[in-house]
């Protein structure tokens, strides 16, 4: 099966988009070789600026460029983009609603060996609480490309969460992504698992294993975390006996919480949030980490079995 990290898909697609959209300017903070903005930088050197290890400065500069009509893509690791530079982003980009796309790589637990200091497990929470923000968590290379095609036509700030590790291609090139819309990627009956990002292929593997245990599961991909597809979430809640969400993020205020907030108001239903349970990660290969924190496909199966007994 073809595998590609979403950050690699981002780098290639961004360089493609640079041809059609001459107002795209790209900023990076000394990580262009990792975030893959280097592809754009090589192709359009006059529209790329390396801001050095100065993430806050990068956000302010992005705001200034956007104020003069540029569509700015600003990339660094998620921990620095959504963490360290959060307040400059909030004040100088989001408040004036500038056309800045923060595409942050190395999000989540799957950063791996670099450890907890680099594993951003709070970015979905931090970014979705900013008024007017849009937050996307693509599940594979194709969805990453589709998200990029959508956001270049959507003025205003947004955050795209990208991963370091390679993951299988799940969608075909005809896949249609729409902002604010989710999609059922596996039809089932008894339970529904909501997923996004790197976890999606693991959730699909878990769903297959659950079938052999007699648990028939639907899998719903919610790449558009904000705006969230509320109608689809409610429809799934009505159709299934039990709901689960899976994220490589703290379960507090993250992906599952966004779903829970919506359900509370529109269709109260039991939702089990799988993810990091209010704890930091640690060093290890991403496979080891996923296993350790019960987020491998087997871990997801175990958690769902336990959830169904509750």
């Amino acid at each position: 099966m073809l595998e590609i990290a979403t950050r690699e898909a981002y780098g290639k697609k961004l360089a493609d988009l640079g041809e059609k959209y001459s107002n795209i300017v790209v900023l990076d903070a000394d990580l262009s070789c990792s975030t893959k903005t280097e592809v754009f930088a090589k192709k359009f050197p006059h529209r790329f600026f390396n801001m050095g290890v100065s993430e806050q400065d990068m956000m302010g500069t992005a705001a200034g460029l956007a104020s003069c009509g540029k569509m700015v893509f600003a990339s660094t690791f998620a921990i620095f983009a959504a963490g360290r530079a959060w307040e400059p982003f909030r004040q100088s980009v989001a408040y004036p609603h500038f056309n800045v796309k923060v595409c942050a790589s190395h999000a989540g637990l799957t950063v791996g060996e670099d450890g907890a200091s680099h594993q951003m497990i709070e970015d979905i929470a931090l970014m979705r609480v900013i008024p007017g923000m849009k937050v996307f968590v693509p599940s594979d290379g194709i969805e990453t490309e589709k998200v990029l095609e959508a956001i270049v036509e959507e003025p205003g700030p947004c955050y795209v969460r990208l991963c370091r590790a390679k993951s299988p291609i799940l969608f075909d090139s005809g896949y249609q992504f729409k902002i604010g819309k989710g999609n059922v990627i596996r039809e089932g009956k008894t339970i529904c698992i909501f997923t996004a990002g790197f976890m999606t292929h693991l959730v699909l593997a878990a769903a297959e294993k659950l079938t052999s245990l007699g648990i028939n599961s639907t899998v719903v991909n919610l790449c558009s975390v904000k705006p969230l597809d509320g109608d689809l979430v409610v429809e799934m809640a009505k159709k299934h006996e039990c709901l689960f969400s899976v994220e490589e993020h703290n379960i507090m205020a993250g992906f599952g919480s966004a779903i829970a907030e919506l359900l509370c108001e529109r269709y109260p239903a039991k939702l089990h949030r799988l993810g990091l349970n209010d704890e930091f990660g640690q060093s290890g290969s991403y496979q080891e980490l996923l296993y350790h924190y019960h987020l491998s496909s087997d871990g997801i199966v175990d958690s769902i079995k336990k959830g169904l007994l509750l």
């Binding site: 100065s54 500069t61 992005a62 104020s67 400059p88 004040q91 100088s92």
Partner: protein, 276 residues
């Protein structure tokens, strides 16, 4: 249109001081000291140097100005009222619900407010971004910002200072209102920022040191700055917080409070305005 004389600029600055005090007094809250310390530099910028047109606020080739020291918003609003961007009656709605004259500036190009600011240190980077955009688009506009000594305690300001020098942004000019006072007291007591000129020099900037209340010195620096090539410039104006009204001058207390009715009478007497 001919450039105003030094005497005319000084008259404008006095009028703007009156406008600032009336605005802040009416709002019953806001900053008094900072707007009075930076207003001479802003007067020179808006009424002598800046290429702009209040009848065409979206003019793509206009010079840009970013008020990094967002708490001195009344000074910016006063300039924009005087320059014809903001309707004068709006001054009475400063800090009121539903008003566009927010406590700290909120971007509204139609009114000449180029950028939302208020969190110190960020305007430096934002102005750099505008200057980079000019480079990409091969435009001749210049980008000015007003920094503050308190703002110089923000790490982000120096990140921006480094970037402007690295990218050799000679279309980038920072004015720095060095009044020596911040909310908790004198800057030298809270956390010393001196020597600001040497710091900027070492960061690769061309530095002008001026008396920030001497209109002639400010104007000359604004002219000279255009001759500097290959690097950004900063005009550091030594100023007195609360300048123009004796009872406010150099008193940390007046950094962030509005004048009382009684203080307003004294101030208007000194500036020759009417406490309407």
């Amino acid at each position: 249109m001919s450039k105003p004389s030094i005497a005319q600029l000084e008259d404008i600055a006095r009028d703007l001081r009156i406008l600032i005090l009336k605005m802040v007094h009416h709002a019953k809250c806001g900053h008094t000291g900072g707007p009075l310390s930076c207003i001479d530099m802003l007067t020179a910028l808006y009424f002598y140097k800046l290429r702009h047109d209040s009848k065409n606020p979206l003019w793509a080739d206009r010079d840009r100005f970013v008020l990094s020291a967002g708490h001195t918003a009344p000074a910016l609003y006063a300039c924009l009222i005087k320059a014809g961007y903001i309707p004068e009656e709006e001054m009475w709605r400063l800090r009121r619900l539903g008003s566009f004259l927010q406590g700290h500036p909120k971007r509204k190009l139609e009114w000449g407010i180029e950028m939302s600011t208020g969190s110190l240190g960020q305007g430096m980077s934002v102005a750099n971004g505008m200057a980079l955009a000019a480079r990409i688009d091969q435009k001749q506009y210049r980008v000015y910002s007003l920094e503050s000594d308190g703002g110089a305690q923000e790490g982000m300001m120096w990140e921006g200072a480094m970037s402007a020098a690295h990218y050799q942004l000679d279309n980038r000019v920072a004015l720095l209102d060095y009044n020596g006072i911040q909310i908790d007291g004198f800057v030298k007591d809270v956390k010393e920022v001196a020597p600001l000129d040497k710091k900027f020099e070492s960061f690769g900037w061309h530095v002008f040191n001026v008396d920030g209340h001497n209109m002639k010195e400010i104007v000359e620096a604004l002219d000279e700055v255009e001759k500097i090539k290959g690097k950004p410039s900063v005009i550091i104006g030594r100023t007195i917080m609360g300048k123009g009204v004796g009872i406010f001058e150099n008193k940390p207390k007046y950094h962030g409070i509005a004048p009382t009715d009684q203080e307003m009478d004294v101030a208007m007497g000194e500036l020759g305005g009417k406490n309407a």
